[in-house]
């Protein structure tokens, strides 16, 4: 594999909270344009994993290389710089309640792309909202949006900085099946348009089936199994089968 194509590389990642070991020698390699779904039960450490990737949590051991840079060796300034190339969609979208949709989207741009004129900022916000089909919600407050709309706005805010890597934390949790399907389709459409790579944390098999180039099953804090959706579906391991049983 060409090393220049590696977007994210995690080696021997360990994280514990007191005596509770959450990640234990976890490894992952994501190449350009690829989608990896990390599958695991609730409380298995999936969210801890992506919070470690983006530097919200500090791992106890291991290495995380994003775009070839070791995230654990960066100072705050460099970390903030590299974070602008990483998009992060939170489970509950984490929109800023006190700001309108427009201000939510403008927030990162006004701080990182300070040379942009007001017209350029306005155009980028409108383009981003148009991508998710919610241009009409531009002046609404987050409290006025439905769960699906919040998720779409969250995706728009994630994409506005044109990230090369997107981390999705349970993108369809709390949504009905139809809206879930729409969100997944949106993720795929936007990936095609912007050529992003993604790590998708989920326990939803329909998300895995539609988006994953590769699935990693996270169990006991380690890579329990890896493969494509079809490969894992054929597995006779009961720990893997249970995901497919409940999906069907």
């Amino acid at each position: 594999m060409d090393n220049t194509n590696i977007i994210l590389k995690i080696e021997g990642l360990c994280k514990a909270f007191g005596s509770n070991v959450v990640l234990n020698n976890f490894n992952l390699e994501l190449v350009k344009g690829e989608n990896i779904v990390v599958l695991g039960k609730s409380g298995s450490g999936k969210s801890v994993l992506i919070k470690c990737i983006v530097g919200l949590l500090k791992p106890d051991k291991g290495n995380i290389h994003v775009f070839g840079t070791n995230m654990l060796e960066l100072n705050q300034e460099s970390l903030d710089k590299i974070r602008t190339k990483i998009g992060f969609l939170f489970q509950n979208s984490a929109l800023y309640d006190s700001m309108t949709v427009r201000e939510n989207l403008e927030f990162p741009m006004r701080r990182h792309w300070i040379s942009l004129t007001s017209t350029e900022v306005k155009d980028l916000v409108e383009e981003s909202l148009d991508n998710v089909g919610l241009l009409h919600a531009i002046n609404m407050m987050p409290s006025e949006l439905s769960g699906g709309m919040r998720k779409r706005i969250g995706i728009a805010r994630t994409l506005i900085m044109k990230p090369q890597l997107i981390l999705y934390d349970e993108p369809t949790t709390g949504l009905d099946p139809i809206t879930s399907r729409e969100i997944v389709q949106l993720m795929l459409d936007l990936q095609k348009k912007y050529h992003t790579s993604s790590v998708i944390i989920s326990h939803d098999m329909s998300v895995a089936k539609l988006t994953a180039n590769k699935i990693i099953v996270l169990l006991d804090g380690r890579n329990y199994a890896e493969g494509t959706y079809d490969e894992l579906k054929k597995s006779s391991d009961k720990n893997i089968n249970q995901f497919f049983e409940f999906a069907s």
Binding site: K51, V54, G55, L56, D80, K81, R83, T84, I86, F88, F90, Q91, N92, A94, L95, Y96, D97, S98, F107, P108, R111, H112, M161
Partner: protein, 256 residues
């Protein structure tokens, strides 16, 4: 030797609060300056607190005048009423009562707002977007209160003194000019300046404690309620301690 849990928790929290205060002073001088947010917070914490502070100051001035009058009347010293009320309001009651009201109104609102942002991952969202949430949320709020509280105290003092004028006229007939002369002849800069300086520190306390409690909020919605509540309790307690220290300092400096 193992310390009792209550004491070790108190020491732990004091340590965390101290680290938070040090971080505030470090981050406060770093670019980028969030002027827009600072002015927005000054409007919310200052202007929007004015009605409550004003009404309280008016009642405070009036009640103090009405209740002090009989005692002074016994000594035939009712003419001292304007000066006595003005000095006690400017020196002590104005700053402390205004700070306590603001601790209740602003401190709890900041504790709840930041606590809610913390548990809904909005603060994390700011951080992963490469923005410094401490600078945007904490520094702006703390500075806005620290600068707005002395202004609120001045306005509260003026309103309370005007209420005193009304109170004095309940039983006597005193012209505004005479009342004004009585009040301002008795006041000196050494009454105003220490009061305003301590108001600034009261404001810092309210902001820092409110932000600290909210920023470190945990345990979901229960934690948000706890953050709002403890922001008021801790800030009020620290305000009294600071007031005690301020009295000692002004006494040492010969300003009392």
């Amino acid at each position: 030797m193992k310390l009792p849990k209550g004491i070790s928790d108190l020491l732990h929290e004091t340590g965390q609060l101290s680290a938070f205060v040090i971080r505030f002073f470090k981050e406060g001088f770093k670019p980028r300056n969030e002027w827009e947010e600072l002015f927005k917070q000054a409007f919310i914490n200052g202007y929007k607190s004015l009605p409550l502070v004003g009404i309280t100051a008016f009642i405070m001035g009036l009640v103090l005048t009405v209740q002090s009058r009989p005692t002074l009347a016994e000594f035939g010293a009712t003419s001292w009423l304007p000066a006595m009320i003005a000095i006690s309001i400017v020196r002590e009651i104005g700053p402390v009562i205004t700070a306590l009201i603001c601790a209740g109104k602003i401190g709890s609102s900041i504790g709840a707002e930041l606590g809610s942002m913390k548990v809904t991952e909005q603060i994390d969202a700011m951080e992963v977007s490469g923005t410094n949430p401490f600078k945007f949320l904490v520094v702006t709020r703390v500075l806005s209160i620290a600068f707005m509280l002395p202004i609120l105290v001045i306005l509260a003092d003026l309103i309370a003194i005007y209420a005193c004028y009304i109170g004095v006229n309940f039983k006597d007939v005193v012209s505004w000019k005479l009342f004004y002369n009585k009040v301002f002849n008795s006041l000196e800069y050494s009454d105003f300046i220490p009061a305003l300086v301590k108001s600034f520190f009261f404001g810092l306390t309210i902001g820092l404690v409110g932000c600290f409690k909210g920023y470190n909020s945990q345990k979901g919605t229960e934690g948000v309620g706890h953050a709002a509540n403890s922001a008021v309790v801790v800030a009020s307690l620290i305000i009294f301690i600071l007031d005690l220290i301020a009295v000692q300092i002004t006494d040492l400096l010969g300003l009392n």
